[in-house]
Amino acid sequence: MKTLTISKNHRTVCIAMMAIGVLSLLATFFGADDELHTRFWTNFLHNSVFFTGIALMALFFMAASITAWAGWYVVFKRVWEAFSLFLPVGLVLMVIVAIGNYVGYHHLYHWSDPESVANDALLQGKSGFLNDNWYLLSTLIIGGLWYFLARKIRSLSLAEDEQGENSFEHHRKMRIYAAAALPIVGFTSAAMIWQWVMSIDPHWYSTLFAWYTAASWFVAMICITILIILYLKAQGYFENFNRDHLHDLGKLLFAFSIFWTYLWFSQYMLIWYGNVGEETGYFLTRIKDYPILFYGNLLINFALPFLVLLRNSTKRRNGTMIFVAVVVFLGHWMDIFQLIKPGALHTAHELAGHAHDGAAAEHGTSVTGFIFPHILELGTLIGFVGLFLFVVLTILSKASLEPAKDPYLQESLHHHV
């Protein structure tokens, strides 16, 4: 059983990536930003939400797999365990955003501005849910609960390796926590997505939004799983991860790309068909002002994986899978980007208008970094990828990469599709 050793190279690359991220954030903050630092904060929120979501989806899918008695993924289950343990880091980032609501570091959320709420009956109606206290409190409580579950499953999984017996007592316990994780994550993730993301456009609402966002996270999670495993395999680890495992990850990527598209279509089509002004505004802004992201979203996240991964053979080739995973990962990163940026920009316009005594909305805010990810947004992404990799690799290095006593280990080693 091999254990990952983090080489000096790994560490240097991760730190360099994080440095690029920090520099990009600083450059955004001090250089190309408006006085509310909207660009800086949207970039921060965007990436924090994105990677926290990936960690959460890893926890969720792991829990679903354990509950469903799935065996195939066991050879690489440490990867998902490591992803799920990124949760505390993600939560620290989200708590920074939450504290920012109080202190007024940022003005991401219109509902957090007392003056706006005072003049807006709709925001007043929602203030029982959209307020600084609940944002912080729910991030801490719900996030803490997620972390507890991830921690528990991980520690049982490690304990199983050390003290596991033929009665599979650890696995039985793991099933209890995994089963509990499903409804807990299922219910609470929606609440967090509404607060973290949907409330950026505080007047708009869609019942499907939470599932849509979660599907986006999920596909991104599968992409980064493929990339990390193939990289480590090239380094000589995961020797038991074979083409059939890759094939199955490819199937998940394929299937959930279509599922994501299904949710995209359901949400968009129903709002288009209903043609209610309060709802269509959301998409109208995106189609008119963000056309590249709006249409690109479908091309990258649906057309590409659909056409490329339809064949069996492409799901079994490293090169194709890496290509699709990289592009679709970026695609879903941009999907979350377009969920966050337009609303925050609008809020900034409104607040800048207030600050300047009713001055015109176009006053003050540059749109660089909003219509499309700019160089500084990419730099920020690199930084967060570096952080994510650093955390994941560190956790991976703490235990053997392949579990020894998982009841399904032999099934996974002999996996054949």
Binding site: T67, W69, F168, T207, S266
Partner: protein, 472 residues
């Protein structure tokens, strides 16, 4: 499908130390013996209900929709409720055949045949409702767009009701093909044991299947292609049914979560009906060794999962209605829970969300009586759900002066009972004519999931561990 290794933690899916021959004998048996008295009684009851349904349908056609208690405010009542209910029930079959096949779920083989058959009968029952609701049944072919002599008169392609026609007819066709494809080798098995006219009949049904390698190869390819086609169909049918409501701007109907939530609800109700049928079938046909408690438990887990997903959707709708700040939306949900039809809403919540939570307990998941009662509960709950969405919402529209209340007429009740009659009549005939469990597919998993082999593996893995442990 891989059968290389089965984890010692998995329980067997075929019990009783069966050989291949035992499987053939056990599963063909029901088609070879004369029906029991219980079967005749059940058949008689079903046909009576069927007759009642036909009479009520004839009244509807003769007299028109006035024989129903719909009114100007409530233009959709039991008809569409029953339509959606039956379509929902028709989801489990294809889910089991296609999606569980893709997920390599071996327990699927015990129940897929009956579930697919049930799907087809349920879709037939569903299709009756739009057919008779048009009033003038003699022009029901207007549903379909075809080159016609009616000048510019076409169905409205922008209408989700027309999309329904396409979705359901496609779904029905593919489900039928899938079901029949699976039956071909099994009919051949029945034929090989038969004599005389019966042999000729089953030979015809099996298309002269010889079991040659080429036949199996073609059969495998066809099954895979149909599974690929059926998978998106499982999602699409109920999605489009949900569009019937969600494309409108009626508060309580116009909500984006409807498509996936309807699909989850459909799977939920479909599994409930499969369980209702399976619990009885396995007992009556004495095939408990093929539809084991493991199968029942797995299906109960699906019930728990989908019931909870539906619960998330209910609460999401409720919460977002408050969150929207839109008074009509808020009223729609207030009215559902506390309006004149409050009992339907509480029936729905109790049967669909609360009661399935008992399946958190393993003992209850593995208890036949609990399973049976719960499956009935869920069937009732899902009927209530559709009634809540349709009846309750329509009863209180924007204009209080047109608010109304609706109680079905005996014709409407009769038609519903009639579809139950049709469903069970078909199902009872099916159990006599075709093997209720897929013989070929069960044989396929014998070596990996038969109880004698599973226990064999346990010992093998223990030795393997010792060998592994001795290595440095």
């Amino acid at each position: 499908m891989s059968g290389h290794y089965t984890s010692p933690i998995r329980d067997p899916l075929i019990e009783g130390n069966k050989t291949y021959h035992d499987i053939t004998v056990d599963l063909v048996a029901a088609t070879e013996r004369a029906p029991s008295r219980a079967w005749w009684i059940a058949f008689g009851v079903s046909v009576s209900f069927l007759t009642l349904g036909v009479i009520c349908m004839l009244i509807t056609i003769w007299q028109g929709i006035t024989s129903w208690n719909l009114n100007r405010t409530i233009g959709w009542g039991w008809d569409i409720t029953n339509f959606v209910w039956w379509i929902g029930i028709g989801h489990a079959g294809t889910l089991i055949s296609a999606i569980l096949l893709l997920f390599r779920q071996k327990w699927r083989t015990g129940v897929n045949r009956a579930a697919e058959a049930m799907t087809i009968f349920a879709v037939i029952c569903a299709a009756i409702f739009p057919g008779i609701h048009v009033g003038r049944i003699w022009v029901v072919f207007f549903f379909f767009p075809y080159p016609n002599t009616r000048g510019p008169l076409w169905p409205n392609f922008n209408s989700p009701l027309l999309w329904d026609v396409f979705a359901i007819s496609t779904y029905f066709t593919v489900s039928l093909l899938f079901w029949y494809t699976g039956l071909v080798p099994d009919f051949a098995t029945v034929r090989d044991r038969a004599k005389g006219l019966r042999k000729k009949f089953y030979n015809f049904l099996s298309f002269g299947w010889t079991g040659s390698a080429k036949h199996w190869q073609r059969w495998e390819s066809l099954s895979l292609v149909l599974a690929g086609l059926a998978t998106p169909l499982v999602l699409s049918v109920h999605t489009i049914v949900s569009f019937d409501f969600a494309t409108s701007v009626i508060p309580g109907w116009h909500t984006t979560i409807f498509p996936p939530y309807f699909v989850a609800g459909a799977i939920f109700s479909g599994f409930a009906m499969v369980l209702t049928l399976m619990v009885i079938t396995r007992h009556v046909l004495n095939i408990k060794e093929y539809i084991t408690i493991e199968h029942i438990e797995s299906m109960n887990k699906v019930i728990l999962v989908t019931g909870t997903i539906v619960g998330v959707a209910y609460l999401t709708e409720l919460f977002i209605a408050w969150y929207s700040g839109y008074v009509y939306e808020q009223f729609a949900f207030f009215n559902r829970a506390l309006g004149p039809y409050w009992w339907a809403y509480f029936g729905m919540m109790a049967c669909n969300v609360l009661s399935p939570q008992v399946f958190w307990f393993r003992k209850i998941r593995r208890n036949i009586w609990w399973t049976f009662f719960m499956s009935i509960f869920v069937n009732i709950g899902m009927w209530f759900e559709r009634f809540v969405i349709i009846g309750t919402t329509l009863a209180r529209d924007y204009l209080p002066s047109s608010w109304s209340y609706y109680v079905p007429s005996f014709v409407e009740i009769g038609i519903f009972l009639g579809t139950l009659g049709i469903f069970f009549t078909f199902y009872l005939l099916f159990t006599r004519v075709a093997p209720v469990v897929a013989i070929a597919e069960v044989k396929h998993i014998l070596k990996s999931s038969g109880d004698q082999y599973v226990h064999g593996h346990e010992q093998a893995s223990a030795t393997a561990e010792v060998v592994e442990g001795s290595q440095p």
